[in-house]
């Protein structure tokens, strides 16, 4: 049983039944591809979390009690001066009215519709804070500003402290599974109209729905911006490497036949089109391109040496079948490790790549040779210019092997020493820092309000109508004060504030009554009164449960990183445990709380995935090489590129995000692959009893060129991802490109040096 014989027979059969092979392949490809129609449009950030994730459960819990947490916000900023100018207030008023018409809107809060209470003895008047804007005098405008800045639920919620920016907040009640396209389209349309109509007032759109929509929009813009340019790059690349138009065309055909069914399979599995999935075709494309170039370049050079076309492709297949299989296999195994993480979007991307690896292997050994026979392929007859260079490199390595090892070791040790400065962190708010519109929003909002995100906390009294109990309200107020004393928090709103305001208003507006009454019935009666005096969408249903056993704290956050967020979450839990007594709270809840935990759990999962993938790959290397010595030697070139890459990373940043971890899993199969090729050839040279010098030159001659070609394809492919507007995509691309580049250097310099010293068992 010789693999080469099997491959020879297999390929002969393929090329003698080329029409049947191609027809069958195309039918199967089309069948798989037809699944594309089932690809789903994503539901924003919710697609980034698994349903059973604890912090996501906390969010669902809060939403079940108080309605959905998603908001859409109009940000209004006059280009000069403050909010309290007639034309600015009029814009706010108009936007407020319009906001009620936003699809799925359930509440709207703004400066104009804020329910403001004025007191005249026993007469209580509750009305919109600002009305009849045309008739306001300058003094009245100033009064309004001073009053607004005294309202706890206005400042930092709908008006910035500086009075320079104001929000119109829309609460969206979008059913889970439906995206924000409609409300966002509505808001963007209004934004455009208002900016045209009012050149001196800047209006833009923010809020968690807008953030969420970025996922979808960057997926779209990545696809439309990157794919066409990437196609051009690949055409150029394959022509440079093959120097034959028809061979390039052939590789393009095989590449497309590999990508289409991969995305189709993703569709059959009802995957969502999120930014990570957008990069799957690019990774598949690079793998398929590398396969095609391996096979075609050898076939073409065989033809240059005078072989018949069929003989040339069969001989090429004999050399390339196993390497192509191994690349596909190790890539698939490496990438499959991403499934150990807990972000569905990344697992889906990884699985699409796994499909791609499988399809590209099958097509490369069937359709590729069949088509090769059918197309008029000629080589230009020029000799490969890289081969003499590789020969010279072989001479250099033979002479300076110890220097090479010493030099690379020193660099590696230096870079290793930097790695401990790295730490895992993430800033989900930086995801879309390349989306201009979003950055514009973020800058304004973060400067004036701390951040555009709210978080929440629930506090359960444990009994029906328990929240009117003065003890509960005081504890709630303590909780809010403690939260406000934390660096991460800008401001907090609770029903305790509502009670304090009511108590003041019911006592002739005297400041000394801005406190929580010691009378449960009175508190209950205040709530009762408040609730039937306010308009539609202004009630307290989003702050307390119908049976008044629980209430919700609304917290405006400062911007912070994952580590701070988790620390804040823990600190809050600790405070709750020590201070809340019999009252129950799950602590802080919300998107900025959830993401850091998702990352942490994901990173832990990915590290487990790495162990899984690496374990399997080591077994594969062992089986392929059937040698412990080579197995041990292979560890060096397989591990060093990653160590170096993280070392290089630490020269630029201290923060390792989970994308950096995903990069290891994607790259590992590709890196391992090159070393396997090199070691197999070296072993073969040993069997042929070549001297160590000749053995190394043999390796350079037969695998040096394919390794360079594959690495160049992969490097360019990954480098290309740097163009993505989604942070994790470009981090992933940059990191993978770096690893591939370093692996190429190690494979060409360090591995041969090591083999020269340790590789020859006969001596």
């Amino acid at each position: 049983m010789n693999i080469e014989n099997i491959v020879e027979k297999f390929t002969s059969v393929i090329i003698s039944h080329k029409i049947k092979t191609i027809t069958l392949a195309i039918v199967l490809v089309l069948l798989a591809t037809s699944g594309v129609r089932f690809l789903e449009t994503p539901a924003g950030y919710r697609s980034f979390v698994e349903n059973d994730q604890q912090n996501y459960q906390d969010i669902l819990n809060i939403e079940e009690k108080y309605g959905t947490i998603d908001t859409l916000t109009f940000v209004i900023k006059p280009k000069s001066g403050e909010i309290f100018q007639k034309n600015v207030l009029k814009v706010i008023d108009e936007l407020t009215e319009l906001s009620w018409k936003a699809p799925y809107s359930s509440r709207v809060s703004s400066l104009t519709n804020y329910q403001y209470t004025t007191v005249d003895g026993d007469d209580i008047n509750i009305s919109d804070f600002i009305s009849d804007i045309d008739s306001l005098t300058d003094n009245e405008l100033l009064d309004l500003k001073n009053l607004a800045l005294k309202e706890k639920n206005v400042v930092n919620f709908i008006l910035s402290k500086s009075s320079k920016v104001s929000f119109v907040n829309i609460t969206l009640d979008v059913p889970i599974g439906i995206d924000f396209i409609e409300p966002i389209a509505f808001a963007e349309e209004q934004k455009k109209l208002f900016n045209e109509k009012n050149p001196d007032i800047f209006v833009t759109v923010a809020g968690s729905a807008r953030f969420s929509q970025n996922f979808q929009e960057t997926a779209q813009s990545d696809a439309t911006n990157m794919y066409p340019a990437f196609l051009v790059l690949i055409i150029i690349l394959s022509y440079i490497l093959l120097r034959s138009v028809s061979a390039s065309l052939l590789s393009l055909i095989v590449i497309f036949l590999s990508i289409l069914p991969s995305m189709g399979s993703a569709g059959w599995l009802e995957y969502q089109v999120l930014p990570p999935l957008i990069i799957a075709p690019i990774i598949i494309l690079t793998i398929a391109l590398a396969h095609a170039i391996h096979i075609l370049s050898i076939a073409l050079s065989n033809m240059n040496e005078g072989m018949q076309k069929d003989k040339a492709i069969i001989e090429s297949m004999k050399i390339n079948f196993m390497p192509v299989f191994l690349t596909s296999f190790t890539t698939a195994v490496g990438v499959a490790g991403v499934n150990f993480g807990n972000i569905p979007a990344f697992s889906q991307m990884a699985n699409a790549v796994v499909f791609g690896a499988a399809y590209s292997f099958v097509l490369s050994v069937t359709v590729l040779p069949a088509l090769f026979m059918m197309m008029p392929i000629k080589s230009d007859g020029k000799n490969n210019i890289i081969l003499p260079a590789l020969h010279a490199l072989g001479n250099f390595i033979f002479k300076f092997k110890y220097y090479v090892i010493t030099f690379i070791s020193l660099i590696t040790i230096y870079l290793i020493s930097l790695i401990p400065t790295l730490y895992f962190d993430d800033d989900f708010d930086a995801y879309f820092d390349r989306v201009d519109d979003w950055v514009e929003v973020k800058n304004i909002v973060n400067d004036e309000f701390g951040s555009s995100f709210f978080i929440f906390a629930n506090m359960d009294s444990g009994e029906v109508d328990g929240i009117t109990d003065p003890n509960y309200l005081k504890k709630l107020d303590d909780f809010a004060s403690w939260l406000e004393s934390q660096d991460e928090v800008v401001t907090v709103a609770t029903v305790a504030d509502v009670i304090k305001t009511l108590n003041k208003n019911m006592n002739e507006g005297l400041e000394e009554f801005y406190s929580i009454p010691d009378n449960k019935s009175l508190n209950a009666q205040y709530f009762l009164m408040y609730e039937f005096s306010v308009p539609y969408g202004m009630d307290l249903k989003d702050q307390m449960t119908a049976n008044k056993s629980e209430s919700r704290l609304l917290i405006r956050l400062n911007n912070f990183t994952s580590i701070q967020s988790r620390d804040f979450h823990q600190r809050t839990k600790e405070w709750i445990k020590n201070n809340l007594g019999s009252y129950q709270s799950d602590g802080i809840v919300g998107i900025p709380v959830m993401f850091p935990y998702v990352y942490q759990e994901n990173t832990n999962g990915l590290l487990r995935g790495l162990i899984f993938s690496f374990g399997i790959i080591i077994v594969v290397i062992g089986i392929t090489l059937r040698s412990i010595r080579f197995g041990l030697i292979s560890v060096v070139p397989n591990v060093v590129p990653f160590v170096l890459a993280y070392g290089v990373l630490s020269l630029f940043t201290k923060i390792v995000t989970f994308s950096h971890t995903v990069a290891i899993l994607i790259a590992i199969g590709l890196v391992v692959d090159a070393t396997i090729h090199f070691l197999t050839k070296f072993k073969k040279a040993n069997v042929m009893n070549l001297s160590s010098y000749d053995a190394i030159q043999y390796c350079y001659k037969y695998v040096g060129y394919p390794i360079i070609v594959a690495s160049v394809c992969l490097f360019c492919g990954f480098l290309f991802l740097l163009q993505s507007s989604f942070q994790t995509n470009y981090v992933l691309g940059g990191m993978c490109a770096l690893i591939i580049l370093l692996a190429l250097i190690i494979d060409l310099l360090l591995l041969p040096s090591l083999l020269l010293i340790f590789g020859n068992k006969s001596k």
């Binding site: 209580i124 008047n125 919109d128 009666q525 308009p535 539609y536 202004m538």
Partner: protein, 262 residues
């Protein structure tokens, strides 16, 4: 009397078509007739039970009792007293309302825990009533004068032919953009769909358990409110409703609330 008014309506309906009035005019006529068919109660007392039901089926109970006084001045609204009984913490709270047709309502509230009467003026009462799916606006919305009307035709509902009427609130602070209601041939409202400010269906009130009081006036003793957007519902029941029992008009003045505070 009932039969006469029924016949009268039949004739009216017949006339609607024969005189080719506009749909708006027909709608207004039916709404007006329907409203007028509930007049003449003089005064009334009742106990009211509210059951708030969340999407998971959890229930919360509210109990109030009410007194109403008909205003014979056709240009002004009725007066009402609401006594809050349950939850226990609000027991003893009383609200007095003087509704007006063309003006904001007057409202006084006696809070026993505060021991004071407060006059509450707010131009907008479209919010939830005691956390339910019903609002003050829905009660005052039974007065045809607060809406513009349009007759949409006939529709079968639970085996009966009903007039389908569309109405649009005249006042700008309404929580709704329109309502579509079915009124049966006895001029009883059977259901009304409410559309929110973005024009989406918000909720439906089903009027059930119609009873003929004093052989003259139909009242629905159950309002079943279903919110289609948040899946909450409210069942609002009237019990022990009594009409024309000779209530003291003075009870419906601010001074009677003030006496409670003394």
């Amino acid at each position: 009397m009932k039969i006469y008014s029924f016949l009268f309506i039949l004739i009216l309906t017949f006339n609607f078509s024969s005189f080719a009035e506009t749909d708006e005019e027909i709608g207004l006529k039916i709404a007006k007739e329907a409203y007028e068919s509930t007049r003449g109660y003089i005064d009334s007392t009742s106990e009211q039970l509210m059951i708030l039901i969340d999407p998971k089926g959890n229930e919360v109970i509210r109990e109030i009792s009410g007194k109403n006084l008909e205003n014979m001045d056709p240009d002004d609204g009725d007066k009402s007293l609401i006594f809050f009984n349950k939850p226990k913490d609000v027991e003893g709270t009383v609200m007095l309302s003087h509704t007006h047709v063309n003006d904001d309502d007057d409202q006084w509230l006696y809070l026993p825990a505060l021991g004071r009467v407060k006059r509450i003026s707010s131009s907008n009462k479209s919010g939830a009533f005691m956390g339910s799916e019903i609002s003050f606006e829905d009660f005052s919305g039974l007065d045809y004068r607060k809406y513009d009307w349009k007759y949409l035709g006939e529709e079968n509902y639970e085996g009966e032919v009903c007039y389908k009427l569309e109405s649009y609130p005249k006042y700008e602070n309404s929580g709704y953009t329109k309502r579509i209601g079915l009124t049966d041939e006895l001029l009883r409202a059977r259901k009304i769909e409410y559309y929110d400010r973005k024009g989406d269906l918000l909720k439906t009130i089903y009027f059930e358990d119609h009873k003929l009081y004093n052989d003259a006036i139909w009242f629905a003793d159950t309002f079943r409110v279903v919110n289609h957007q948040n899946d909450n519902s409210t069942i609002y029941k009237w019990e022990n409703r009594q009409l024309n029992i000779g209530l003291n008009k003075k009870d419906f003045e601010k001074s009677s609330l003030m006496r409670l505070a003394d």
